[in-house]
Amino acid sequence: MSNLTRRTAAELADLLAAGETTSVEITSAHLDRITAVDAQVHAFLHVDTEGALAAAGAADQRRAAGSVSSTLDGVPIAVKDILVTKGLPTTCGSRILQGWVPPYDATVVSRLKAAGLPILGKTNMDEFAMGSSTEHSAYGPTHNPWDLDRIPGGSGGGSAAAVAAFEAPMAIGTDTGGSIRQPGAVTGTVGVKPTFGGVSRYGLVALANSLDQAGPVTRTILDAALLHEVVGGHDPLDSTSIDQRLPSLVDAARQGSSGDMSGVRIGVVKELGGEGYQTGVGERFEESVALLVGAGAEVVEVSCPHFVHALAAYYLILPSEASSNLAKFDAMRYGLRVLPEGVEAPSAEEVMRATRDAGFGDEVKRRIILGTYALSSGYYDAYYGQAQKVRTLISRDFEAAFGQVDVLVSPTAPTTAFRIGEKVDDPVSMYLNDIATIPANLAGVPGLSVPNGLAAEDGLPTGFQVLAPAMADDRLYRVGSALESLLVQQWGGPLLAQAPSLVSEGASA
């Protein structure tokens, strides 16, 4: 079956259930696709051919024995290289973890394994998830399948590009300020950041603990819902995980796909649009809102006045937490160890210094310095303390808004994919990519990005963001699914069908 890589995860699950294909066939097809295109895309840092095929074989045996582990049993997946995988290298896109093989699995990974999903490999990312372009990976950038000269977003550009390039039907990403949603928007894929505490962070190498959340990266809303249900739910190993069940996300996605939005109140966030947003992004957004109105939704404009301070607060809280999290990378126990040059018998501290100097990239060093400064005595109240207050005000903005409407919407990212190298020397302009996605992380509310077309001026994908109250992740799926089905109807097929094939005619893939 040459078109297995073009199928959605839900379709693959149906084919497996109907006995029309096997997990080994599906997994092999994706491994072949990786071989064919990943030299151009560079979505993967590590491909586990052997492990994936073994897991696929086991899935086929389970199915033959009539004991499938889950709906997605046998459907392969890619995992962002920030989640630890027992026996598989985990680098976080950093030189400092080169060669480290974790002795344990992240809870998300063990849930994937328990549900029978073969893991194809680990995907590329900005070093320690710091960035919006995947250019900050120590192992080289990932390329956007829509235009290989452009960035795939970040930090989870590898996961988004792998799914957009049909190298994997699904992937796991992590989102600290938009690292699932923004790559989704610029690669024409679906990305969901669940409610904070909805998916275990155990085994997710922390960037900023109070903001990080793992979630699905897929090509359809239904696939995201199916994956979210596999990895989500309470985990006693993560004290911040919420011990409460979500309403069915798959049901919400199915309900939404009817396209009926009557009775749904939607708020357009005034502060997340207009100036600074690319024309084509704005146009596609207006069009999507009009579609939802046409489907019966009640749409109002909502103001969240403190969102304008979100970026500033985020760039104090994130580096503060990160500076502390990254202290453990000191060459004493695992990972890279660099001996200082010209020092005869270096002390532990000299080895730490040399290793951290060689092992961390510039963006990581920048944020460690920022965070160390912000937490310093005498500055704590002015920086970290103030930022936490802003965070509270942003949460209140959300509460007030969700008093009026069921969901909030905005463009996911202010621009389409920019060119590789274009912003790498301008950190602040890079940071602005996450302006629309950061508020959800600060407040812990869930957010989703669904592809909503191509910008007229550059022909590149744009994303539509839906935000819901904490633990109301189902609303994301209902609204996202409705918009998706209305758009797909309009386009006459999925948006990714319009992406370049990446493989020259006649080449085998």
Binding site: G203, L204, D238, S323, S324, S347
Partner: protein, 515 residues
């Protein structure tokens, strides 16, 4: 400079240090102390993971991703440790925070896996307490109230072993090994407010406070409180000022004070050292100092200035703790009796006089005597063994009574053997020698050393006959009514029997044969 560079400074053990005599120092200065005690809890598992806490296991055998600080691992609070912390707080008359958090204390050190310690900072679980410390005086007891600033929870670090140097310290070592078994063991840090007005009794107050804390923790059953194993560690903050109404002087923090005797000695030493320095017009540097038990001195460690910045912030991987009122009340209702009440009750139960009681408390034998009595020994006998022979042995070894390898049940068994006539007091001492030498239980020592009293009348009678025959002059004196002379014959018999005879029965036999 960072902390590590400073630790690389050479020892200053060999530099001469001017000391002022304790008596003179106290005529010129008023000491103010602050005591920080770290207690390792005896929970089965660590503070934030399920690893066992057993002491002395194979290095790095009790570790997991969490206590090794591996990337991605997350802490989960040990509820038993929180319960212990609350009980300690309540026993110290503290307020229990209705809501509190853990914080990260950030600094680099190879024995700290995450390069931050998960601790509590401005939101301790227990605060604003007090305890009454019992001091023994010439005629009984006195009570000093010590105010408690806070008791907070934190995790222990790993343990570094510096290899290749002469001193076992980091300086001069060619490499270091780290054992992370201890990393993550729950600790409670108990901090006093400045203890003022102790004057010349400062060393005594410090020692009595730590001793009482140890007994209290033992009574609560929350820690093994074995100072020699480091499960109770004391840091002594001390400063001097010219008079009680002068502002506080600059303090030093002396670490590594790990026995009760050392608490007393370290306070005394720092008073003498600081007094000499100040009298010469010098100034005291705010620093960490290390106590050297063997030499009885402190040496300069890290300089501890205000520049030391731990960049505390709330631990984002843990949710705030909010112990319910009902839980706290329930824990309060089952607290052990406070020390003073307990002492009064026991004195009455045992019928001890004030001075007897004072000496028992002063020797650190209260609980030992109590347990010995509970094992069936009379109060007088229990007291006798602990306060005479065993106290002497502890003193010789420079350890606390409780650290001796003799347990209350051993003492009770030895006394039972005496009561049964199987051994006498003299043999009992040899039994204790054997137990202390690790030869086994009292019964095993008696059996192995062949120490039972000779109760064979025939053998005894023959020994008496031999003694009479060998000492005709003494025998004549006794025949002539000088009964006091019998002692010499008893001695001779006991010598022949190598002490394994009932001296009373020997005396009876001698008198009967010579009457």
């Amino acid at each position: 400079m960072s902390g590590l560079d400073k630790l690389d400074q050479p020892d200053r053990l060999d530099q001469p240090v001017a000391l002022m005599s304790y008596e003179e120092a106290l005529t010129r200065f008023d000491p103010v102390m602050g005591l920080e005690v770290h207690v390792e809890l005896n929970t089965a598992s660590k503070m934030f993971c399920g690893c066992p806490t057993e002491f002395g296991a194979e290095p790095n055998s009790q570790v997991c991703p969490v206590c090794l600080g591996l990337p991605g691992a997350m802490p989960v609070v040990n509820e038993t440790a929180v319960e212990s912390a609350i009980r300690i707080g309540l026993a110290l008359n503290c307020e229990i925070a209705p809501w509190c958090r853990f914080a990260r204390k950030n600094y680099f050190y190879p024995d700290m896996p995450k390069n931050f310690q998960t601790s509590q900072y401005d939101e301790p679980i227990a605060f604003n307490g007090w305890t009454e410390v019992q001091l023994v005086t010439a005629d009984g007891f006195d009570t000093v109230r010590v105010e408690i600033e806070r008791a907070h929870m934190e995790e222990d670090t790993g343990k570094s072993l510096h290899v290749g140097g002469a001193t076992g310290r980091i300086h001069g070592a060619d490499h270091s090994l780290v054992d992370y078994n201890r990393a993550g063991i729950p600790l409670i840090e108990i901090v006093t407010k400045p203890i003022e007005g102790a004057g010349e009794r400062a060393p005594q107050v410090a020692r009595a406070y730590v001793a009482q804390l140890r007994d209290m923790l033992l009574g609560l059953g929350v820690s093994d409180v074995r100072m020699e194993q480091g499960s109770l560690r004391c840091d002594v903050n001390l400063s001097l000022r010219p008079s009680a109404d002068a502002p506080l002087g600059t303090r030093t923090e002396t670490k590594n004070v790990n026995s009760l005797r050392s608490v007393d000695r370290a306070v005394r030493y720092e008073i003498g050292r600081q007094a000499a320095r100040l009298s010469e017009g010098g100034r005291i540097v705010q620093e960490t100092r290390h106590w050297h038990e063997d030499r009885g001195v402190t040496t300069s460690g890290r300089e501890k200035s205000d520049a030391e910045d731990y960049r505390y912030f709330p631990e984002p991987d843990l949710v705030p703790m909010a112990p319910s009122r009902a839980w706290v009340d329930r824990l309060r209702s089952v607290l052990p009796e406070p020390p003073r009440e307990r002492r009064t009750r026991l004195q009455e139960e045992w019928g001890f006089g004030d001075l007897e009681m004072r000496d028992t408390v002063g020797a650190g034998a209260l609980s030992l005597v109590e347990e010995t009595i509970a094992a069936g020994t009379s109060p007088a006998a229990a007291r006798k063994w602990w306060l005479s022979d065993l106290a002497r042995r502890a003193n010789e070894q420079g350890v606390e009574l409780a650290e001796l390898s003799v347990t209350p049940s051993d003492v009770a068994r030895v006394q039972a053997l005496v009561d049964e006539g199987k051994i006498n007091d003299k043999i009992a001492r040899q039994v204790f020698e054997g137990v202390l030498a690790g030869e086994g239980t009292p019964d095993e020592v008696v059996a192995r050393r062949g120490l039972a009293v000779v109760s064979d009348e025939g053998a005894l009678s023959e020994a008496v006959d031999r003694a009479i025959a060998a000492n005709p002059a003494v025998a004549d004196k006794i025949r002539n009514g000088k009964i006091a002379a019998a002692g010499a014959l008893i001695g001779a018999v006991m010598k022949e029997m190598r002490g394994q005879a009932d001296a009373g029965r020997v005396r009876e036999l001698i008198l009967a044969k010579l009457s």
